[in-house]
């Protein structure tokens, strides 16, 4: 028979092994790569509301989950697509230009994944083009995940920690979380 302190030690070791295994398994999920997604064409999510206001009693919406919000590989793919599809041409690397900054706390059309999805697929009236039919749903979701990582809305172990080319801003990984704030849509006449 082993002494009680010895078995306690063993139990602690087993617990440690279990914790390490769980950590390792969650790391697998973080890198999960899915190459084939159906349907391939981007379509709007019917459940998304474009306005907070509702007639009659307020109903709870079912929330849309971005499957890619906790997937480091998908976020890095989103970062690649952000440059390839020329989002950077208008929003630059998040600091904003023709389009509003995406690395700050201000959101005109909402910071939730479904809002950003709608922004990309539907476009927005003051100059954001609609990518409907031009991007696949999974590509849009990857872009959504990356856009959210720009203002620190994703976990740090998921956000990108490096650039493929020259460093133009601090890494998404070291971006502090910016608490989203609703920003007013300026009238078109006042926009630069």
């Amino acid at each position: 028979m082993s002494s009680p302190s010895r078995s306690g030690c063993r139990r602690r070791r087993e617990l440690l092994a279990a914790v390490l295994l769980a950590a390792a398994l969650s790391a697998c999920q973080r890198e999960d790569r899915r190459f084939r997604t159906w349907p391939p064409a981007a379509s709007a999510i019917p459940a998304v509301r474009q306005s907070e206001l509702q007639p009659g009693p307020t109903t709870r919406d079912l929330t849309v989950r971005n499957e890619y919000g906790d997937n480091a590989w998908a976020v890095s793919e989103g970062k690649r697509l952000y440059n390839q599809f020329n989002c950077s041409g208008c929003h630059f690397q998040g600091g904003g230009g023709i389009g509003p900054p995406l690395m700050d706390s201000q959101w005109i059309y909402g910071s939730q994944p479904e809002n950003i999805f709608a922004t990309i697929v539907e476009g927005r009236p003051n100059g954001m083009p609609s990518f409907r039919g031009k991007l696949g749903n999974d590509q849009v979701w990857k872009l959504v995940a990356y856009v959210r990582s720009m203002s620190g809305l994703l976990a740090k172990d998921v956000a990108s920690g490096r650039n493929d080319d020259m460093q133009v801003r601090s890494q998404e990984q070291s971006t502090e979380k910016a608490r989203p704030v609703q920003s007013a849509v300026p009238p078109a006449s006042q926009r630069p």
């Binding site: 790569r33 190459f35 084939r36 997604t37 159906w38 349907p39 391939p40 064409a41 390839q84 599809f85 039919g133 031009k134 991007l135 696949g136 999974d138 590509q139 493929d164 080319d165």
Partner: protein
């Protein structure tokens, strides 16, 4: 096109350093042959000495060392060490001089080609003093026989390596850096090149054809590649063009002469003139093209082209249009 494909199939030596088709590959092959022959001789000698030592008759009792015999044996060992050193130094010198000969600067009249590595395909560009005459294609290099070809190697993502074993050795494509190499094909034929530096998921499906042809037919090919795509002539192909331009394709591909101008994926202006699709993965046939467009992830999982959901009639029109892109 089918002639090229037949050549690929009929030419089993299209990817072999032992079937040199250019001066540099011949130097490398000469180096290899001399090392191989020397190694055979050395192997046989060592084996003979080993067998002699193992099977020589021994007396039950070794006699006391004979100083004359000891001296003889020392001389044999010293001679063996000396010969080994000479052989290794000869190898070193011939290796370095072969390396210098292979990497010598190409002549002034060499053709200039820019090859850019992408995950997982090759972009090929022939420049000209007049930008309108630049030719961009993918996964296939055409060169005239008997003329030096200087290749500038670039990469947009990770390190790749360009390796046409029948023509010359390997050279890496490094992002943010310009590398170069040159080669020359001495006989007409189709040679296969491959990425020789692991570059991610589909590294194994990243090949390239080098088509060496007579100077006349090369000049004809280049002139024809400078053309923009023809305007569709009938209703089916013009529907196909509409499908191409209105769907996701135009986000990634260019077809000169149409508004599609993205360079995320291979240039498709002269797609139908190429022997293979998806970097040497499949022969360029209508069936393969259809399979690729609908579900590239089945053929090349991880490739940076998403699946496409197309109405069957639209797909037929799109294929008909793509087949006109000669």
């Amino acid at each position: 096109m089918s002639a090229v494909l037949q050549a690929v199939l009929q030419f089993p030596g299209a990817h072999s350093a032992l079937k040199p088709a250019g001066p540099q590959a011949r130097i490398a092959e000469g180096l290899w042959n001399s090392m191989y022959a020397t190694a055979i001789v050395v192997f046989l000698l060592v084996m003979a000495a080993l067998l002699w030592a193992a099977f020589r008759r021994r007396r039950a009792e070794e006699p006391a060392p004979d100083p004359a015999r000891e001296r003889r044996m020392r001389r044999v060992v010293a001679a063996a060490v000396g010969i080994t050193t000479i052989v290794l130094f000869t190898f070193l010198v011939s290796d370095i001089s072969a390396g210098r000969a292979v990497t010598a600067t190409p002549g002034k009249d060499a053709i200039q080609i820019i090859v850019t590595g992408h995950q997982w395909w090759w972009e090929v560009q022939y420049r000209d003093s007049v930008p309108q005459r630049w030719v961009t294609t993918a996964n296939e290099i055409h060169v005239p026989v008997g003329r030096q070809v200087a290749v500038e190697l670039r990469s947009t993502d990770v390190i790749h390596s360009f390796w046409p074993p029948n023509l010359t050795g390997k050279r890496d494509l490094i992002p943010g850096n310009e590398n170069s190499l040159w080669f020359q094909a001495d006989s007409a034929g189709v040679y296969r090149a491959e990425c020789a530096e692991y570059c991610g998921h589909e590294h194994a499906k990243m090949a390239l054809l080098v088509v060496a042809q007579s100077p006349d037919s090369f000049a004809r090919w280049l002139t024809q590649q400078r053309d923009t795509a023809h305007t569709p002539a009938d209703s089916l192909t013009s529907r196909g063009q509409e499908v191409f331009l209105s769907s996701a394709c135009a986000m990634c591909h260019s077809i000169a002469g149409t508004p599609a101008g993205s360079r995320v994926g291979p240039d498709l202006t002269h797609l139908a003139g190429r022997a293979t699709i998806a970097a040497g993965t499949l022969p360029n046939t209508r069936g393969n093209l259809a399979g690729w467009i609908v579900d590239p992830q089945r053929i090349k999982p991880g490739a940076r082209m998403p699946p496409n959901q197309l109405d069957p009639a639209d797909l037929r029109a799109l294929l008909a249009y793509l087949e006109t892109l000669r």
